[in-house]
Amino acid sequence: MKSGMLSVLSDISILRKGGLILLLLMGGLLATQSTFADDPAAESAKPEEVAPAEDATAEEAEEPLTLDSVNTSIGTVVFEVGLLWTCIAAFLVFFMQAGFALVEAGFTRSKNAVNIIMKNLMDFSIGSISFWLVGFGLMFGATNGYFGTTDFFVSGLDKDGNPDNWTFAFLLFQTVFAATAATIVSGAMAERTKFVSYLVYTIAITVIVYPIAGSWAWGGLYHGGGWLENLDTPFIDFAGSTVVHSVGGWAALAGAIVLGARKGKYRADGSVNPIMGHSMPLAALGVFILWLGWFGFNPGSTTSLDGGNFARVAVTTNLSAVGGCVSALITGWIMFGKPDVSLALNGVLAGLVSITAPCYNVSPCSSLCIGLIGGVICVFSVVMFDKMKIDDPVGAISVHGVCGAWGTLSAGLFAQEVFGGTNGLFFGGGTAQLVTQVIGIVAYFVWAFGASLVIFLAIKYTIGLRVSEEEELRGLDITEHGMHAYPYLQHVESN
């Protein structure tokens, strides 16, 4: 038996097939491997304020202790703990992929659950690769103000060829953010999009749409520096209400428009025929996972110890989330006569998206208000898009697009100097910040919606964006993936 087992690895004919596929996969990569090892192109910069330093505990360094050396050691500790926090936050944000997969699977029909899961899995996978190859450079490379032009194919080595751990931590953190923007789209396009076409779009958003957008407001975090950072009153979007969520949301809007509604979503008389999801427990678990992930998303965006400000950000994040939950529940209850679980779950996400921009700059009380308003907006937005016949199975456009815009705007209203930055309109700061926020919101809408529209139309008229009617009826799981999500009956296979 044992030798039989080992034969797996040596069976020539199998290996030949496998080798072929590998060659197809890795052509370019392997070719560049050696060059790349010798030539660490990227010039990397640790954040200015942190002096690189020897490991404080290294005894081998026989240099005498001085006040300066000790102080440097402290700087090193602070720096490394900042890396640790950035990484842990990135892990939490990574886990949001599971949250998205569950929310989207739960809110759609079981005949499309495999497809939804595959889309979430693949957009993260493909996105991780393409953001590493291209996106990161476009977003954070040295820039002309509109997109970066260096730092592609991140090696993580500094100019001396030594590993630069800050770059690694930052790359990881930014990768999971990019994947978030990408994955938002899948929910709005659920239950009717061709798998291959979705993969193509995923590449487009992680290679083009998101990185360019991101460079405008966040490029300065690394080697870049975008035009929105250089306004007189710089744009506030601490963790990405607009940069991540609205970009994803507006792309989702473009996708939903180009696709059209699911068959059966609208009755002959034009009224909405609701298509319910297949599992509220999965959806709810997804929301809890997203919520957990958001504690990495927002507080983690300090990407350093930063005087412990992550604690404050965590509090504002949570208060907005619960505010969104409560107000969406109440709004739905008043309007439709019952406490609707799907709206309450959307409300949580609405609150979270809303606070993502201003989380660093507002008080707990303000954050609760921002969440409360976000929850209400979300419910009205969901209903409006339904009325406009833009079919968004999971409410992604409302939650991420619209509430992302609201959150970004709210920074111009509720920001307080005491937390760093300027005062917003409600705190005597006038309209300067508000105007910047509006400029940002509009610019991002134009870019993200516009570019995505072009891409989706291009896909539509080439490889096609939507499955056939029969495939839609039978479900994408069996027609695209040859597999049911629940192949066996749930309760009885025994006797």
Binding site: V272, N273, P274, F336, D340, S342, V379, V383, D386, G395
Partner: protein
């Protein structure tokens, strides 16, 4: 021999079963079904859109029995399944030509 098919409410299943067993009817087969009838279902909203739940979850009982206890069975079911509200369900009776017990190969009345 006859077959009784009874469409009843879910939460009446235990009562009906107990009543049938009490009447010495000890074989039956049950299936989950969804029924459409006078009980028109109710209007619900989901995310603000209205819809009508017109297929109500029901349980279908199938009982094959000899002709002489059919009336008794019908009476027992009707009494134990009744709530008096619309949606209580229906009983259908039809003829069965033959019954075979798979285990033994017995057939006819003795196989029931």
């Amino acid at each position: 021999m006859k077959k009784i098919e009874a469409i009843i409410r879910h939460f009446k299943l235990e009562d009906v079963k107990a009543a049938l067993v009490a009447a010495s009817i000890e074989g039956m087969t049950v299936a989950e079904v969804r029924g459409f009838g006078r009980q028109k279902g109710h209007k619900e909203t989901y995310r603000g859109a209205e819809y009508i739940v017109d297929f109500m979850p029901k349980v279908k009982l199938e009982i094959v029995l000899s002709d002489d206890i059919v009336d008794k069975a019908i009476q027992v079911i009707q009494e134990s399944a009744r709530t008096g509200n619309i949606g209580d369900g229906k009983i259908f009776v039809s003829k069965i030509d033959e019954v075979i017990r798979i285990r033994t190969g017995e057939s006819g009345e003795e196989a029931i």
